[in-house]
């Protein structure tokens, strides 16, 4: 075939340029360590690479959030742990105070320590994290959420807010609990009503009836008779000689037993229900005793400690007074027990949050590794094959150059 001279040169030059361009691309890829530099290099792979990168950025963000969350949760957890031990100590002290005989100064010493514990608990409620935010203020983190009033009661100035954070796709975890929930909204140990006892002063017996539970068990049928919706339980010896009881609402209408019965026999430990409320009374009532139930479903840790202090500061009594004191201390201890159960519950909840963040963290790490493998396979260069290809290309460039330089010498004109 006839080949024109310019075509001959053109073709050889093109050949060499193409080889050079291949070598250049190889050098670029090898120096970047990447197979795909722009989306145009491999648009299918590029789509996956971009998706994976975005996924990795998200995972990184979740990991950072988990680190933040863990530190918040741990700050709260340590405050909760201290609060729990304060409550243990309070219980120890009050039991100790109860076992002391007629020694007012010893009881005062215990009351003084309780006052310290009270302060400690308030300062725990006002814990701050490293950013200076109050941990238990709900959403109001700028000012101390707990404030002691002149009457030694504590008011909560925060709100019920609970902060959340994203720790995985569609997975959020709480990083705070409001002080309201932990310190201020403790379940009253007797349920939804709080008893006060009017004991027959003419009977000295220390063994008196105690209301251990008064709860609205059937809300659908609970209709308050008045405000406040108080109930009075009266005990009187029945004609049969057995102890009888009756319950009147705040308007004085009898709600138990059903009229025309005026009295029902008292059986210690039995559950007595009226108006959607169920009550449990234990031990032995005396003729003429009565118990008044006032609605109160919640108590707070601070007032429980204050109750303890007030109880300790009361002198030892005799007869009916002592019976009253024993009933009171029973309720205080029950309240402390209830608080400890609740604290345990919150701590368990916090623990489970930490478990969730931990498992999310592991999951993110695993997933990151998995998709990193795919990304690397799609985007990164296989160095061994890349270098061997580079060598081939170099060889072929050299060959083209050598061939060209040898052939271009051969011209008939040289022989003229």
């Amino acid at each position: 075939m006839r080949v024109s001279t310019s075509q001959f040169y053109l073709r050889n030059t093109t050949n060499i340029i193409e080889r050079q361009s291949d070598v250049n691309q190889s050098v670029l890829n090898i120096s970047e360590g990447k197979r795909v530099v722009t989306a145009g290099d491999d648009s299918v792979a590029s789509n996956s690479i971009l998706n994976i990168r975005q996924e990795q950025a998200l995972l990184k963000q979740y990991q950072t959030n988990i680190t933040f969350a863990d530190s918040r949760i741990n700050v709260q957890e340590s405050a909760m742990k201290s609060a729990e031990s304060v409550m243990f100590r309070v219980k120890d002290l009050i039991i100790q105070g109860n076992s002391i005989g007629n020694d007012d100064s010893a009881r005062q010493a215990i009351a003084d320590e309780l006052k310290q514990r009270f302060e400690e608990l308030v300062s725990l409620g006002n814990s701050r994290d490293e950013s200076g935010s109050y941990v238990f203020g709900g959403f109001k983190t700028q000012n101390p959420p707990f404030e002691i009033q002149s009457d030694s009661s504590v008011v909560y100035l925060g709100d019920r807010g609970q902060r959340l954070t994203n720790i995985g796709p569609g997975i959020q975890t709480a990083t705070s609990d409001s002080g309201d929930k932990i310190f201020m909204k403790n379940q009253n140990s007797t349920g939804d009503f709080r008893p006060t006892y009017n004991l027959n002063a003419s009977i000295d017996n220390l063994d008196r009836a105690i209301l251990t539970q008064a709860k609205i068990s059937d809300r659908a049928n609970y209709v308050p008779a008045g405000t406040p919706d108080n109930y009075t339980i009266d005990f009187a010896t029945m004609p049969s000689g057995d102890m009888g009881m009756s319950v009147k609402d705040t308007l004085g209408n009898q709600v138990y037993p059903t009229l025309p019965l005026l009295q029902a026999p008292y059986v210690a430990g039995d559950t007595v229900s009226f108006n959607g409320i169920s009550t449990t009374i234990k031990k032995t009532p005396q003729n003429g005793d009565s118990i008044t139930m006032t609605p109160k479903s919640e108590t707070d840790m601070f007032s429980v400690i204050q109750d303890s202090i007030a109880w300790l500061e009361k002198p030892n009594g005799t007869g009916v007074d002592e019976a009253q004191r024993q009933l009171e201390v029973g309720h205080v201890i029950a309240d402390i027990d209830q608080i400890q159960i609740e604290l345990g519950g919150v701590r368990a909840e916090i623990g489970s949050r930490l478990q969730v963040t931990e498992s999310q963290k592991d999951r993110h790490e695993d997933y990151h590794l998995t998709i990193e493998k795919s990304r690397s396979a799609l985007e990164d260069l296989d160095m061994v094959s890349a270098i061997s290809i580079f060598e081939q290309q170099k060889l072929s460039l050299q060959a083209s150059q050598t061939a060209f330089s040898q052939i271009q010498n051969m011209s008939l004109l040289n022989f003229l």
Partner: protein
């Protein structure tokens, strides 16, 4: 009559000289572009009859012609147009790919950085330093988006400039072709072939074929009529037309090519027929480049709208309801620039286009036409059209609004339309230029929610009440510090749920259904979820809130919740990252941008493959052409020897004639 040996030798000598000269011309032009090698055709001169025999009288040059294969030449022209188009597309796509993949990386990165800043606000919502960081990151995002946008704008302008420059070039070629036609017609008058002029004309046609598709028709007098862009006359004989660029209509930036006759009549060139680099430039500009700008715009609009919407649902550190983080996507100027009326319209209607739902928004452009009292909206990309119905048909013409299913609303803004008027709607084209940070103070970031729902501890069901949006914090009954609302729900009779919204003093608040119709102060529903409005908020109650009769309904407190430690709104902002909020719930905001990168990438890959195929075809055609018409130096060297020897031989004939003559003279002495 005998043989004139001297004359015979001289004829050979002259012919060889001519052949040597042509060989020299070939050698001299070995590197001349478009040169076709020439060859000398030799023929015998008329013989003389002596007796019954003819005797030869020598030789002469009959023709010096160029070696030229019209078929191969046409093949080169055709492939040149294809190849030039493909190369132009590929190089433009390569640049766009680099822009999107390398510069555009900044968009994804800065979007992620912004979310990282939002997440640290989730951790410490009241921290001014972190808020400053978030504002700075939002600003970086807007800068990155606008740097991509200005790269695309620059690209758009450079295409327009290329088109103008090419139009000038084509017009010049047309002038030269007309001049050459005149010269060739003159030179061909005596049935001669002006090879070098023909080469020149063919070279010009080849140049022209880079820019547009070319077809030619030769006339008998040697002139060549040239047609471009699928049959538009460029040169006929010595008459030349010119090519120019006009501002586009309705979009002035979308410039259009026209061809103009010497008399001044303009004819617009349709981009479908232009071909070559001009066609490729127009296709690129009106296709992938515009599409990419729209997609980046769609991303920007979606991002801005998402952040702005969440901002308005929260409260900032100054105790004010959140303002837009980014500039309002529907500020007046932006809405006006989305609507472009055709300059030839006879009506006077003006309009604005407001984006109402970024989830339904597309990256397409739309045409709007008015005929018979109705607007017809056509999606330029899918070709789907729909007749729009006014939302307020009773309003006066010029004040009607037309909502569409594509996430935007067209609003008339004065004037009256006339039959045949047409308009262009570009909802997302300029979105990226509008992404600017609106907030100036770190305190203005609304990290805190305004109200929160707390379920009562005594609730017996798992039904959940959620506030879907805060619509009016000034509404009567809206919660404030110390004054909450309580929703009470109970089932009675079975299957019917009763609900009412009580304020702190126990007064029932007026209820409205989700479309705003009043329901009174207590209402019932039978199917879950229940969507309703009350006290300036929209609510959604999911699950079965059966409660325990009217005595003990399920209760949900709605409390004012603003606080420096409230991170709920920041959390809602952080959760935008993986929310599929665009393309009918298929794409996250990052997906949107990635889709535009990938789309450019795959089109670049296609363009590269096409360019390489077109180049191979062109190179082969060129090689075939060159193999016929090109000069081969070895061949010329061998010709040089051949003709030199012929020359020597002819000289020898003359010297022989001389010797014979001398012999004769000596014999006669």
């Amino acid at each position: 009559m005998g043989v004139d040996l001297l004359q015979l030798g001289v004829s050979g000598l002259l012919t060889s000289q001519q052949q040597l000269g042509t060989t020299g011309h070939n050698i001299a032009n070995v590197n001349t572009a478009g040169y076709s090698r020439q060859s000398v055709l030799q023929e015998t001169t008329t013989p003389v009859k002596s007796g019954s025999n003819f005797t030869g009288t020598g030789t002469r040059v009959s023709q010096v012609s160029r070696v030229f294969d019209q078929f191969r030449y046409n093949e080169v022209i055709f492939n040149q147009t294809l190849n030039s188009g493909a190369q132009t597309t590929a190089s433009k796509m390569q640049r766009l790919d680099d822009t999107m993949s390398l510069i555009g990386k900044g968009i994804s990165t800065s979007l992620n950085d912004l979310f990282a800043a939002v997440n640290s606000l989730v951790d410490v919502p009241g921290d001014i330093g972190l808020r400053e960081v978030m504002l700075a990151k939002a600003d970086t995002l807007s800068k990155n988006v606008s740097s991509v946008q200005s790269a695309l704008d620059g690209e758009y302008n450079s295409v327009n400039e290329d088109l103008e420059a090419t139009a000038v070039m084509v017009t010049e070629i047309a002038e030269q072709l007309a001049a050459l036609n005149r010269d060739i017609v003159k030179a061909s008058a005596n049935n001669t072939t002006p090879s070098d002029l023909l080469d020149k004309r063919d070279t010009l046609i080849k140049d022209l074929s880079q820019y547009t598709s070319v077809s030619t028709v030769a006339t008998n007098d040697g002139a060549l009529n040239v047609y471009i862009a699928g049959g538009q006359t460029l040169v006929t004989g010595t008459t030349k037309f010119s090519i120019g660029v006009d501002a586009g209509n309705p979009d002035p930036r979308q410039t259009q090519l026209f061809i103009q006759s010497p008399a001044g009549a303009k004819q617009q060139l349709s981009s479908a027929n232009i071909g070559g680099s001009m066609g490729a430039l127009m296709d690129y500009r009106d296709g992938v480049l515009t599409d990419t700008m729209n997609k980046v715009g769609q991303t920007a609009i979606t991002v801005a709208d998402a952040f702005n919407t969440v901002q308005t649902q929260g409260m900032d550190l100054n105790g004010l309801q959140g303002q837009n983080l980014f500039k309002d996507i529907n500020d007046l100027e932006a809405t006006q620039r989305r609507f472009l009326p055709d300059q030839d319209n006879t009506g006077t209607i003006a309009g604005v286009v407001e984006i109402t739902d970024t989830n339904q928004l597309t990256s397409d452009d739309y045409s709007l036409s008015f005929q018979g009292g109705n607007y017809t909206l056509t999606n330029d990309n899918t070709g789907q059209s729909q007749i729009l119905t006014a939302d307020n048909p009773l309003a006066a013409v010029g004040t009607r609004t037309y909502s569409t299913s594509d996430g935007f609303t067209f609003k008339e803004a004065g004037g009256t339309p006339q039959n045949g008027d047409s308009f262009i709607i570009q909802p997302s084209r300029l979105g990226a230029t509008n992404l600017e940070v609106n907030l100036t103070q770190a305190e203005q970031i609304a990290a805190s929610s305004i109200v929160e729902v707390y379920s009562n501890d005594n609730n017996v069901n798992t039904a959940k009440l959620a506030i879907t949006s805060v619509d009016n914090i000034g509404a009567a009954g809206f919660p404030s510090p110390g004054s909450k609302l309580t929703l009470e729900v109970f089932e009675a009779p079975t299957g019917t749920f009763n609900y009412q919204m009580l304020d702190s003093s126990g007064t029932a608040q007026p209820l409205f259904d989700s479309s705003g119709a009043a329901l009174g102060t207590s209402a019932t529903f039978t199917t879950s979820p229940l969507n309703f409005q009350a006290a300036g908020m929209s609510f959604s109650l999911t699950g079965k809130a059966t409660g325990q009769t009217a005595n003990a309904p399920e209760r949900y407190d709605i409390e004012y919740s603003v606080g420096s430690g409230n991170n709920k709104n920041a959390l809602a902002m952080a959760s935008l990252v993986d929310k599929k909020m665009a393309n009918q719930g298929r794409s996250t905001m990052n997906d949107l941008y990635e889709e535009s990168v990938t789309s450019v990438g795959s089109q670049t890959a296609t363009a590269n493959i096409e360019a390489s195929a077109a180049n191979t075809l062109y190179t082969q055609a060129e090689a075939r052409m060159s193999n016929t018409s090109g000069v081969n130096l070895d061949e010329e060297a061998s010709n040089l020897l051949r003709f030199q020897q012929a020359y020597s031989a002819s000289a020898r004939v003359i010297s022989t004639a001389n010797e014979i003559f001398q012999t004769l003279l000596q014999a006669a002495r």
